[in-house]
Symmetry: C2
Amino acid sequence: MAAPLIGLDIPGGDHAPECTLQGAWQAVDPQGRWKLPAGRILLVGDEPMIRAWLASKGGDPGFRILHASQVIGMDESPATALRSKQDSSIAKLMGAVKAGHAGAAVSMGNTGAVVGAATLLLGTLPGVLRPGIAVTMKFGGAPLTILDMGALSQPKPENLLQHAVMGAALAKSSHGIANPRVGLLNIGGEASKGTELLKAVFPLLEGSGLNFIGNVEGNEVFRGKCDVLVTDGFTGNVLLKFCEDFAAQMIQLAVKESAVSGVQIPREALGRIQKHIDYSEYGGALLLGVNGIVFKGHGRSDHHAVSNALFAASLALDARLNEHIVSALAAQPLAPQSQG
Amino acid sequence: MAAPLIGLDIPGGDHAPECTLQGAWQAVDPQGRWKLPAGRILLVGDEPMIRAWLASKGGDPGFRILHASQVIGMDESPATALRSKQDSSIAKLMGAVKAGHAGAAVSMGNTGAVVGAATLLLGTLPGVLRPGIAVTMKFGGAPLTILDMGALSQPKPENLLQHAVMGAALAKSSHGIANPRVGLLNIGGEASKGTELLKAVFPLLEGSGLNFIGNVEGNEVFRGKCDVLVTDGFTGNVLLKFCEDFAAQMIQLAVKESAVSGVQIPREALGRIQKHIDYSEYGGALLLGVNGIVFKGHGRSDHHAVSNALFAASLALDARLNEHIVSALAAQPLAPQSQG
């Protein structure tokens, strides 16, 4: 059986379609870093435009193409847009995954529309209560997966337990970590610390069979204590957005203050610093728990980020990530129902 | 009437008593930056040791001294230590504030013991439901006060409203901001975003008479949108600890990657970068809402941080911060009781 296709939302993103087309082109370059077979990539968007672009590059290397006549803008209301634009690239992309024509979807487009269409059309994997959004960074050197980044701002204890199980399945199957260490983001080390939610989650994680290493405080996030860090979607979203902007401002500050002292930090050094906090290296945000592989990259992604996301999607498919998630969840002792 | 005394916990902190004594010494240096009168500082600790240290410096410039024979260690259980060590410097310091011998307390010691003793002994100001912990940083240039940093990990809506009122009173009276802009940390811009708590707080802030500018997302924290940023104690604690460690790691990374490119970032440039995220510039963490001025500095504070905290305490006393808080709270329309 042929490997499942990876669908790409061509008009999605601030720099689309140029960066999405260029990203796909680069991902299938036989001399490039990723070397994906072109026949595995399904370009979803305006077919005449896509064909014209490929012709301008000297010809189609064998991409699959799915025509979509409409585009959901970055700032459109997701619910309204999904209802009124049934021939949008996002709707067609998710439709292809739902129908089994593709195994994975990659989009740099409207976040609400991508997550909404995925949740609505694909449904959840067997045993999954609520999906979570995972992001992987390698700031400390090794990859750290943090979830949830905003799917569930007020989860129940059993949601966090499931997110931990799914995050560990990702770290194991896609990042090659044999027995991933799972940490719980909290404001102290003891089991009795934090909110009622976290006090309820702690014993669930202890009894889960996961390699649970306990609570991880804010100052320990990037100190290599764990491979998977679990938190609620509110805290995760605040932290991720804070981290991105703060890193950028720290870099600017280092450049500025060095210049005051007459020193110029070389451009290539800045590039290497930037890479440490760039989660597009791991394909962007991954919607875990839906019946398909869905990567949502940053709206401002460049073509490298698009190639990375296509490659990350191929890794997740080839590693059969979702099968691992389903069996890991099935192996869990039933989580007690939350009080709330 | 003489200005109220500022009590200093001499044995509190990782580098005490050397750094606390040196910090007090520097704060009263007539040639120094702070120029506080020595007679305004009450040194709380082992009196013979303090007198010997002052003698070694050439004599006592006129400090007040309060003997305390016991010390609460940095890692001791706060509740147990406060019960068993009634002659500890922290207990004596708070006792002096309670008795009206001092108006403010500064400690770099055991956080739980300081907050516990302050809450227990001093009680809250009239109208205050629950105290909050505020920290001020000037990362973006202007001072930004963020609260709560961990006093209340699961606040009710009326607690956050009161924290906003108290933070605005601090920004106005101590930082000289005439009409402080108040923001609410959230995961989106609309009033309907975020947790049930935040959805309930939003209209309270709108009706508060404060200069409420709406929600502030993680990537906007240090973008100068507001002067006071309100959040629950869980998120605030995670964010503050993350910020401190991440900043330190970003600086290390900049040094390392510049070195790889053959460039050395000058030490003085690193010092200037560090100052941007150093909240000890504003005295450390301020416990807002108790009947007294209580600054809790970092355990690892140096003598500059101690001097800063003594100065910040003098500013808060001279600006009559707590009187402003009481009248600002009294002017609030009664907050509706929370549903929880």
